[in-house]
Amino acid sequence: MFPILTVMVALPAVGAAVLWALPSGARERVREIALGITVLELALAVALFVQFDTAAAGDIQFSETYSWIPQIGASWALGVNGIGLLMVVLAAILTPLAVLAGWWEDRDADRRTRYLALILLSEAFMVGIFAARDVFLFYVLFEAMLIPLYFLIGSFGGAQRRYAAVKFLLYSLVGGLIMLAGVVALYFQGPGGDEAFLTDNLTDLSMSTSTERLIFLAFFFAFAIKAPMVPVHTWLPTVAENARPGTTALLVAVLDKIGTFGMLTLCVALFPEAAAWAAPVIIVFAVISVVYGGLLAIGQRNMLRLVSFTSVSHFGIMVLGIFAFTQTSVEGAALYMFNHGLSTGALFFAVGFLIHRRGTADVTEYGGLQRVVPVFAGTFLVIGLSALALPGLSPFISEIMVLVGAFSVAKAAVIVSTFGVVLAALYVLLTYQKVFTGPVPEARASFRELTRRERVVLWPLIALMLVLGFLPGIAIDTLSDPAADIVATVPVEEAGQ
Amino acid sequence: MDPINFVILASILFAIGAAAVLLRRNAIIAFMGVELMLNAANLALVAFSRMHGEIDGQIMAFFVLVVAAAEVVVGLAIIIAVFRARQTISLDEPAELKG
């Protein structure tokens, strides 16, 4: 069988190497090359999606297993179920758009080459992580991911980019370190042998309750940092403020999903009892994230920080959905991971375009632009509305599935979370109001309408959100079975909130 | 008289050598302190050899002697190299090791 997943990991990685190897003279067309590679990757992802057997969405498909370090039982094992499939597709969709969105950055061809190579490298790692079927491989990629990101944030970005990069690195490393302890502990609990780290071999382990809980917490902590949950979220606004919008879009839209993805496919799937034990507390933190993120988003003047706080809020909803352990809520959370990627990605891109025009992310510097750039305003509004989960756009479906699905388990949590709905309206509309409404500014001609390239970045995302808003079945079909499997493993406890 | 007294003598010489290394800033003098420490060890070895009636202790001392000679050669060469570079042999001057 054609090793499509390995190819999908290798393609961008090789592409990055090629870009690096290009002699200085040949770097003029580097953007086109990078775009070509990412589009090819997207084509592969589409092929993957088409080939995917929806009827068996709960099973791992496109499996590949090669022995890697048999001494410790690590293997190069890839494969996706429905959830992993969607995340791989999401990564493949957003990377070419990130390349396009950053088209105007960097006049210097060498610098541009470095940036694009790092983006490609990130894509390779992202695909690898979402397809990893081996806990050790997952961990290695999880940590390796930090390398391109550290440079993406630290070398390309705003005034405090170094501070932001270090902060990001420290947070991630702390999480990764604790997770490493979990990985090692898991090895000793596992069956051992050549394939000790395959996730298939790690389910249904018999270990003592306290061991299981500790390992669960080790993994969960790392993922909670990645999917920024209050109170370990503060790295995200700093990074968002200082990194390039394109980088942040990839980071928040795809990479942070590793957190929720890991919670779903590792934490819950491998340690169901511990997950059920910890769920009430986690749900409390999730709800705090929802409200806290929303309130802080309202209080921001910097649009990049604002969007990152909205993500904190949305991640709270995803975590709530995961740890409510009902079929609908888990489906909704998994779907939200995808939809949030589209929505937030588009939002960061759009804010990036604004900053490109005016050079600041401060909302108070804007105003009255609706009359000047109506198309931009309309596009921005639609993207903003997707962030507040307006029906008709896909985030709505996932959000309502989480809220409605989790209601039976955690009534109080859901009721408090619905405040997030009001807060979402506030932060989106207030931002739109400050940027686009009000008296038409004096220097109206200096503000350019959305260019064709920018439309190519934003409109496909909007189209996708519309299609999935009305026909979410395309995605849900691949999620139902995995969600059902996960829910089935968790011991049901009737105690509600 | 018991040969153990030579071991006591060796201990005293060793302590004096160590104190020289710690307290003198002249590299050559400190280096001589090192030599004294080595010789103190040798004395102890020979004394043990005498006490146990085994000749191997002397052989060990012989080896130490050879190694010490090699060490002196290299050490003095280093001192000269440093002197050429800095015109001083004070141990307090080279502070590149500062963290």
């Binding site: - | 004096i16 104190a19 001589m32 005498r50 146990h52």
Partner: protein
Amino acid sequence: MVNPVLFWIIAAITVIPAFSLLFARKAVHVAMSIVLVMVGLAAAYITLGAPFLGMVQIVVYTGAVMMLFLFVLMLVGVDQREDLKETIKGQRWIGLFTAAGLGAFLVSVVGRVTVAVSDTPVQGDPDVVAVLLFEKYVLVIEVLGFLLITAAVGALVLTHTPRLKPRRTQLEVQRDRVLAGADPVNKPMPGVYARHNALDVPALDPEGQPIDHSVSRVLKIRNQTQEGVEFRAALEDPSRKEGDR
């Protein structure tokens, strides 16, 4: 057993000079004291039944090592005096305390130990040692040989001053001189006939013309030079006779 008197003599000629390590200001003095210590140690070895080692000690230490030290001191400058004032905070007292403590501790421990002394003292004569060295420990000897060679080479490398620029050939030196405006050959020497002190008389070129710059600038300023013309005139004067003027 060892003669106590001998022991005390050895103790005296080792410990007392050893203190010069701590108190003597001049490195030369220290080195000379250490020579004494080494001799004392050699005596101790001989006393303890290791005559070969004692000889080697004298040859190697007093003869080679300490001489090497003295050579280095010559290179570095014998008169390098050391300021005994301590610069590192606490170093002197902690160092003294630790060293003294170590010594006291070792002495107290060793002093409490009683070891049965062998009744059959071995004598480390050269033939005995030689057999042992080249039979039982031959491999170690070989390795030590390597070590010594390496150390020697290392010392050469360390003390070697590398030539940073290529050596200038004579041709280059000469070319630079001419380019700088020097005479192509040696400067003409002043004076033709030693009728005066000759330094104040300019040389004559092949055409018989005086060469001004062959006379020291200083003499010209002092007006102590002779015009060459005057001499030439005298030279060409047919009425000139030997012993005129």
